[in-house]
Symmetry: C2
Subunit: 333 residues, 2 copies
């Protein structure tokens, strides 16, 4: 018994109506007499008909699918965003094609290209840098794009973020306030605007307000990994830092463990504020004080924004900035 794909045509024949009518009932078009609708629905049920989304996509030029480019699903920061994205997508009947990029420009471009070939209705991009080649791909198509947890200094496309300048300024301020003379800043590459422009700016502003001189040797560029953090602590000690602001939670946990492993007391002898408030921050002892970014919400809002764009609705502001907090826990005094 070969399984025969059954089409809209079969349904039409069985129900004694035209394909168009079947299409209307499937799509909830009101121009169908209730009796007809019922009849068609019965046939659909009986035949176990399931509309072919590919054919639909070709005819309607809509795939109800959005592409999501993520550096690494395995990183809690991004997976939290992704979860928010998916939930809202589902809510609006979209599906998500998820692609890992490792922040590798070549992969990003190539994956972007195949997503566009697949005719996604929209794109959500995560990653710390928006290179020119990516930007070029974006503008090459008219597919709407939203950045989630990522910054476009030029504000060409939509984006959802928190105010990184203010957040880091506040965190630095707190660390300075509690008596630290040498507060280090450990982020990813400074070539990424979020680090080199925003976080660094907030950091400097706080120093300035406290009349503390800026010392470049307190700035560290790292991979956002536990191992990197572990190794970093030694360097922090070497430059005489007594506190650090970490741009990534895994990194922060690494720093914490690095300190603990050397018998350094946190927060008594060393303070840490991290940036993403992922689950990790609660799991350590002491727990990590963190900038509280609403990760899930950033993803959710980004996707919501994208739905509006795909719908060609009026957008009041395509760069949205969500609020943040500093969540005090055990890694600061």
């Amino acid at each position: 018994m070969e399984k025969q794909t059954i089409t809209i045509y079969d349904v039409a024949r069985e129900a004694n109506v035209s394909m168009a009518t079947v299409s209307r009932v499937v799509n909830g078009n009101p121009n169908v007499k209730p009796a007809t609708r019922k009849k068609v629905l019965e046939v659909i049920e009986r035949l176990d008909y399931r509309p072919n989304a590919v054919a639909r996509g070709l005819a309607s030029k809509k795939t109800t699918t959005v592409g999501v480019i993520i550096p690494d699903v395995t990183n809690m920061f991004f997976s939290s965003l992704a979860r928010g994205i998916d939930d809202v997508a589902t809510m609006y009947k979209y599906n998500i094609i998820l692609a890992n990029s490792d922040e590798n420009n070549q992969k990003e471009v190539s994956v972007l290209s195949t997503l566009l070939a697949k005719q996604v209705d929209g794109l959500i991009f995560m990653g710390h840098e928006l290179t020119d080649s990516i930007r070029a791909e974006f503008s090459r198509s008219k597919t709407p794009v939203v950045l989630a947890g990522s910054i476009d200094p030029d504000e060409q496309v939509g984006s959802v973020n928190i105010d990184y300048v203010a957040a880091v300024e506040e965190a630095t301020h707190q660390l300075l306030e509690s008596g630290n003379k040498r507060v280090a800043l450990a982020t990813g590459s400074l070539t990424h605007p979020i680090n080199g422009q925003f976080r660094l700016k907030g950091y400097k502003q706080a120093l300035e307000k406290a009349s503390v001189a800026y010392d470049e040797s307190l700035i560290f560029e790292n991979e956002p990994s536990y191992q990197a953090g572990l190794a970093l602590f030694g360097k922090l000690q070497k430059v005489g830092a007594t506190a650090v602001i970490a741009g990534d939670d895994e990194l922060a946990v690494g720093i914490l463990d690095g300190a603990l492993d050397k018998g350094v007391k946190v927060p008594d002898d060393f303070e840490i504020i991290t940036s993403n408030n992922t689950k990790l921050t609660e799991m350590t002892r002491p727990q990590l004080t963190s900038i509280d970014q609403p990760l899930y919400d950033i993803g959710a809002v980004a996707m919501r924004l994208l739905t509006k764009m795909m719908n060609k609705e009026e957008i009041e502001e395509k760069t949205v900035m969500l609020g943040f907090d500093i969540l005090k826990r055990g890694s600061t005094k």
Copy 2:
């Protein structure tokens, strides 16, 4: 200047060949004279032509897209599998539609249905239970399916796992060996075969070999969350357990922190072995001894298996079992 979608037809016209020929060069069909190929390629380049994958999918009945159903991307266990899946998928030119199910049967069924409507070429399913309704959806279509890190006791579909019985037996054995009289088992719901059938079986086997009586009060069903673990530790103390095997790493971290918070020494007064060896296990102090499942590989192998199925290649064994280890760290003596 409206952006006009440019089609294979435009390329054909500009290159003075038929659509068929263009299609052939795009698809790498060898039956094209090098000179013609070159000419077509040039036009493609000049016109910036990008084949429409939806149309392709309709015509060829292949979408080069696979559906991935995951309980929650935010859970490291699953995101690690997902990463393996995506990498191999990319390697074989597939994309992944990722959908979170929360292990909720209704969501699973509904998402499965929309994935099939989207004509995915294959499916990877993660989740601890394969309900009848899901199984029914599976067999309703002829789309190949592989379970990753999940068990189908009936072996109807492909699956990639480790030998959970042996793993838990070994873990239990070690805990018994080091002098624990009362070893607890903390997993998710026992209605899930992986827990109720496999892990429990391994646990019992170890007890039996050590001539220790089985005591039901040492078995705990929990959510795989940090909070649940935190709360669980009290209960473990109450029943006099001095060691536990946790089915989930977040749960294990919770238990560990629960112990630490009460001043109980790990591993001296309480031992813990967890199950998934995610990054988390390295981040705690002490670090967690764990069953070492090759998470990434499970995903990768599952996807590889799926590619074979989609290719209709001969499959030697559709239930594959990967090796495991017990990685000794600080949470056991």
